[in-house]
């Protein structure tokens, strides 16, 4: 990335005796996965552009334990949760934003019972907020009239009923938003949830991500927009499987907005 990203850590803020307005929870995918790291950087670019006073935990962040919980390992989940909560509470974190709907759901819904009470929002909600308050302005017509379809991440949509924020943000780019037949409450999973990302699928007659990609292809999109690093991987693989990667891009909403 040409311009330098400013990514302060909570430790740095603490050293200066300051509190950031929001903590950016990067998540394991966003920290280590090559594709997801691009989403992380795009979101930081937005945060920098909007002059948001944010910080990350950096090396003090650990896996939320979400995927362990969905795999059935409640012990590992609670160990991870308690460790993270200790760190978050020590920094007196109040508000958290994340690009990962799984972290979003886990911290928002499952951490409070273990002593972690925070306001947690998804990055699409935060971007919507930044645009609405005038802190972020979208210039240019990068996506004007482009056919974009949005794939609802299960843990953002069905799990937490956040359907409008990503769509409202996409509409702000003047793109031509086209819905798949299955969308919002009836959106089909990309196939990665419930720890499926980390294992082979059970025997069947099709991969779930291929079926979901077919849903998307029906809308003849130029861009498939996602709001989850795992969905992004699954849809990217699906588009490659259909040999459409030359015509169709799979992009996170953060990446779309960073370039808008």
């Amino acid at each position: 990335m040409s311009e330098e990203l400013k990514v302060p850590t909570m430790a740095e803020y603490m050293a200066e005796g300051k509190q950031p307005e929001i903590l950016f929870w990067v998540g394991s995918a966003g920290s280590y996965d090559d594709r997801a790291k691009k989403i992380t950087k795009a979101f930081v670019k937005i945060l920098n552009k909007a002059k948001v006073d944010f910080a990350v935990l950096g090396t003090e962040e650990s896996n939320t334990g979400d995927v362990a919980k969905r795999a059935g390992n409640e012990f590992l989940f609670q160990m991870q949760a308690v460790m993270n909560i200790e760190v978050l509470n020590a920094y007196e974190v109040k508000r958290i934003v994340t690009c990962d709907p799984h972290s979003f759901n886990c911290i928002k819904n499952e951490y409070p019972g273990l002593g972690g009470q925070y306001e947690v929002i998804h990055h699409t909600q935060f971007i919507e907020e930044l645009i609405a308050s005038g802190r972020l302005t979208l210039g240019g017509d990068t996506y004007k009239g482009k056919r974009i379809t949005f794939h609802d991440p299960c843990y953002l949509g069905r799990a937490n009923s956040v359907y409008d924020a990503p769509r409202d943000v996409l509409k702000k780019t003047n793109a031509n938003l086209i819905e798949m037949k299955r969308h919002k409450g009836t959106a089909l999973c990309c196939g990665a949830g419930g720890a499926q990302m980390f294992k082979d699928a059970e025997p069947g007659n099709k991969e779930i991500n291929v079926l979901r990609t077919e849903d998307a292809l029906e809308t003849q999109p130029e861009i498939i927009a996602t709001g989850c690093p795992y969905c992004n991987t699954m849809m990217t693989d699906g588009v490659k499987f259909k040999e459409k990667e030359a015509e169709i891009k799979v992009m996170d909403i953060a990446e779309l907005i960073a370039n808008a």
């Binding site: 990203l5 990514v7 990067v26 394991s28 966003g30 920290s31 280590y32 996965d33 790291k37 992380t40 950087k41 930081v44 990350v56 950096g58 090396t59 650990s62 896996n63 334990g65 995927v67 362990a68 969905r70 795999a71 059935g72 390992n73 409640e74 012990f75 590992l76 609670q78 160990m79 308690v82 759901n105 928002k108 819904n109 499952e110 019972g113 273990l114 299960c154 069905r158 799990a159 937490n160 009923s161 409450g185 009836t186 089909l188 999973c189 196939g191 949830g193 419930g194 720890a195 499926q196 980390f198 294992k199 082979d200 699928a201 059970e202 025997p203 069947g204 007659n205 779930i208 079926l211």
Partner: protein
């Protein structure tokens, strides 16, 4: 002697309702085999859900065709049952159409006319349902779990409804007095001419027969409920009330695990210390669920409420791509096993004798459980707020925490999280490297 029909009627009524009550008691006992769960929260939301989702059928109509037809049968069922009230009074006291002597003729006519129209609509809807199940071959009615009894069960219920509605119309059509009144016989007046050649005595005999068969049929149907998938007509209401009111993505945190984790994380904790007074010292026998007794009472109520419509399965990404998992089968298996346990208890003087079987393995396989993406599509699709996902999760917990039986790749992933705080084998110290890459 003139009271004999009244007595026979009372006996039939008492026996019919008595048997039903006995089965309901059994059903409640079976549900109570499950773990207690606190659902005293969010009362206003729970009542609202019951009003909208159960009474208002708001989720049924998400699929307009079957939803609309279902509303007809549902409204017909509820409203035509007002007529049953009259039948019971007539039967017990030897009156005939008591409503006529209580209500003004126009009101009575309006009521019966409404019932007759609804009866015809129900007949039409039920016929379409039968065609959908047997002729059009809609995919969700053809899954492997719908072979045999579940298929017959679905059809038997439709036949019951046809017979009951036909008897109701026939009873009205052959009631000379009612036909002569000329009000409320909006449909039956078209059936009456079919009996033109029949003598007054014959007509009366047909009318009495239809009347008796109608009420006996209703009582048989009432008792059939417990043995069929049709319990939803009663259980949908409590089931929706007890349905999840929190975000669908929120899975419960196991309290027993919390206690242990707290102990492990607390540097001052003395692992050999006696439990503090008042603390729960009954450590649960196991984590997660391998049999119906490990599930919650709400999950067991879910199983009895399921009417096997298959909307869950038809939205399940695993099922749509040919995997073995079917959320409907999870619910059917849970009920079948619960019934098996219940019968075992009946046969052993109120105590469960180990039968060497359990829900996990004998009914639900690991393969089904591991195919779930936890996407909540099944939960969203269910018109009566059943949560198959929660059962899948509880059984996964048993597999992982009691049997260490996760697929190998998942064990690798979990080891990575334990060792370096990420599902992949990367160093925690490299977590922020992305910013300089």
């Amino acid at each position: 002697m003139e009271y004999i029909p009244n007595i026979i009627f009372a006996v039939i009524l008492i026996v019919g309702i008595g048997f039903f009550a006995r089965n309901i008691k059994k059903l409640i006992r079976n549900i109570k085999l499950g773990q207690e769960v606190d659902a005293s929260d969010n009362k206003p939301q729970r009542w609202k859900n019951m009003a909208y989702i159960a009474l208002g059928q708001s989720k049924m109509v998400k699929r307009p065709i079957s939803g609309f037809l279902h509303v007809i049968v549902y409204v017909g069922f509820i409203i035509i049952n007002i007529e049953v009230l009259e039948i019971i009074i007539d039967g017990l006291f030897g009156t005939h159409r008591i409503g006529l002597s209580i209500l003004p003729n126009t009101v009575y006519g309006f009521l019966i006319g409404t019932f007759e129209i609804l009866a015809v609509l129900v007949l039409v809807a039920v016929s379409v349902f039968w065609i959908r199940r047997n002729v059009i071959k809609i995919k969700r009615f053809l899954s492997s779990e719908m072979k045999g009894w579940p298929k017959s069960d679905g059809n038997i219920i439709l036949y019951f409804e046809v017979v009951l509605m036909a008897l109701f119309l026939m009873m009205n059509a052959t009631d000379t007095e009612f036909q002569n009144l000329g009000i409320g016989n909006i449909i039956s007046q078209c059936i009456a001419p079919l009996f033109d050649g029949v003598s007054p005595e014959g007509l009366s005999a047909i009318e009495r027969t239809a009347w008796w068969l109608h009420i006996v049929g209703i009582l048989i149907f009432l008792n059939y409920l417990y043995f069929s998938k049709h319990l939803h007509i009663l259980l949908a209401f409590p089931n929706v009330y007890f349905g999840k009111v929190e975000p669908k993505g929120k899975f419960n945190n196991l309290e027993a695990v919390t206690a242990e984790v707290k102990l492990m994380m607390d540097p001052d904790a003395d692992p050999f210390a006696a439990a503090p007074e008042g603390a729960e010292d009954d450590v649960p026998a196991k984590f997660g669920a391998s049999d119906v007794m490990d599930l919650s009472q709400i999950q067991l109520l879910n199983a009895y409420t399921c009417t096997e419509c298959g909307r869950c399965t038809s939205e399940c990404p695993a099922n749509l791509t040919g995997k073995k998992l079917s959320p409907r089968k999870i619910m059917m298996d849970t009920r079948d096993r619960l019934e098996e346990v219940g019968k075992n208890i009946d046969a052993n003087n109120g105590e469960f004798k180990d039968d060497g079987k359990q829900l996990l393995g004998d009914y639900i396989t690991n393969e089904e459980l591991w195919a779930c993406t936890t996407c909540n599509a099944c939960v969203e699709a269910c018109p009566v707020s059943i949560n198959p996902l929660s059962i899948i999760m509880d059984m996964r917990r048993y597999l992982v925490m009691e049997q260490s039986a996760a697929p190998m790749e998942l064990n690798t992933m979990m080891t990575n999280i334990e060792n370096n705080g990420a599902p992949w084998p990367y160093n925690q110290m490299d977590r922020l490297n992305w910013k300089d890459e």
